[in-house]
């Protein structure tokens, strides 16, 4: 399946949900290792970390993975 992660299409072995996707990022050598501190949006909707495992993922979904940065 293809998931767009932070604007880049990513070909991965099919997964069922967001948690499986994040786990797969580490195991599939995608060069997109999840950071320790992050927040996720799926198709432009925020997903609390408590709902990763119950958020289904489909081919073509768009995932945004945001991390802390400096700001004014």
């Amino acid at each position: 399946m293809v998931i767009t992660l932070n604007g880049k299409p990513l070909q991965i072995t099919p997964v069922n949900n967001l948690q499986d996707f994040l786990d797969a990022l580490e195991t599939e050598n995608t060069a997109a290792i999840p950071p320790k501190q992050f927040a996720v949006a799926l198709n432009s909707e925020f997903v609390p970390n408590s709902l990763y495992a119950s958020s289904p993922l489909s081919d073509g979904d768009v995932v945004e993975l945001l991390i802390p940065m400096q700001g004014g």
Binding site: N6, G7, K8, A31, A32, I33, P34, P35, K36, Q37, F38, A39, V40, A41, S44, E45, F46, P48, N49, E64, L65, L66, I67, P68, M69, Q70, G71, G72
Partner: protein, 261 residues
């Protein structure tokens, strides 16, 4: 001490964490400023290995209140989603709400700002809206539940100071219940003092410190300026007048002065 969103703070200077020459200088500048609140942001994880972990650890070591922003958002929807992500990421319900309406001036979109404010307040956020000095917009933001308003002094990063002090003074007079913070446009300590002399509750700035030749010194200067301006406001400024009036008492003037009569 003063109260910001039910939180007791010492400093009335809120400082940004961006644009410093190095993380070490950022930390020393924040310390020199005596600020209790630092603004932060979110960005996409890149694929180059940067994961924000170092910055996150630095933030934690500073033990300050964090104020995440929604910089770069151009719609209410984007800002709401970003605020939700920031709440989880930084562990705070405070959000500096930015919804940009014009890319050239970075002027906020007042309509989207109001829409996003209503939704985020309904979701339990403490919204710090980055707004213009438009009185009607500020009144509507307060009606929506904003206790804090952050009108610009000038466009972000320009350092032009308070372009419209009349409008800012008017906001202070018309909205005595609001916590008013000048956000953006401050370029010099005198600008920060001026905002505080107008009766604003605090000042938020970033570039003027981060891009100074010596950021740590400028941070200290800004902290002192904010404190001086607040003291002046509390003391009460004298009324201006058009004619000169001697400050030295004329009683007992030495004899040679009387030769002029």
């Amino acid at each position: 001490m003063w109260t910001l969103a039910d939180t007791q703070l010492n400093s009335r200077l809120l400082l940004g964490s961006a644009l410093y020459p190095s993380p070490d200088i950022m930390c020393r500048a924040i310390e020199a400023s005596d600020s209790d609140v630092v603004t932060v942001s979110l960005r996409r994880q890149s694929f180059d290995g940067a994961d924000g972990e170092q910055f996150w650890q630095l933030l934690k070591s500073l033990e300050l209140r964090l104020l995440p922003n929604t910089a770069g958002c151009h719609s209410a929807k984007e800002a709401i989603t970003t605020a939700q992500m920031a709440r989880e990421l930084f562990g705070t319900r405070w959000v500096k709400l930015e919804v940009i309406g014009d890319d050239y001036s970075l002027q906020p979109d007042p309509f989207a700002l109001l829409e996003a404010s209503k939704e985020l307040i309904a979701q339990g956020f403490e919204v710090f809206p980055y707004c213009t000095d438009d009185l009607v917009l500020c009144e509507k933001l307060m009606s929506a539940g904003c206790r804090i308003l952050m009108p610009w002094g000038a466009p972000i990063g320009t350092g032009k100071g308070l372009i419209n002090p009349y409008a800012l003074r008017n906001l202070r007079q018309r909205l005595p219940e609001a916590t008013l913070i000048v956000d953006a446009g401050i370029g010099a300590p005198s600008h920060a003092s001026q905002a505080m002399e107008l009766g604003f509750d605090a000042v938020l700035l970033n570039t003027a410190v981060a891009q100074a030749n010596v950021p740590v010194k400028m941070a200290r200067a800004m902290g002192l300026a904010v404190e001086a301006g607040r003291l002046a406001y509390e003391a009460g400024l004298m009324h201006q007048q058009d004619t000169a009036k001697p400050s030295t008492p004329t009683l007992g003037t030495p004899f040679w002065h009387q030769n002029h009569e």
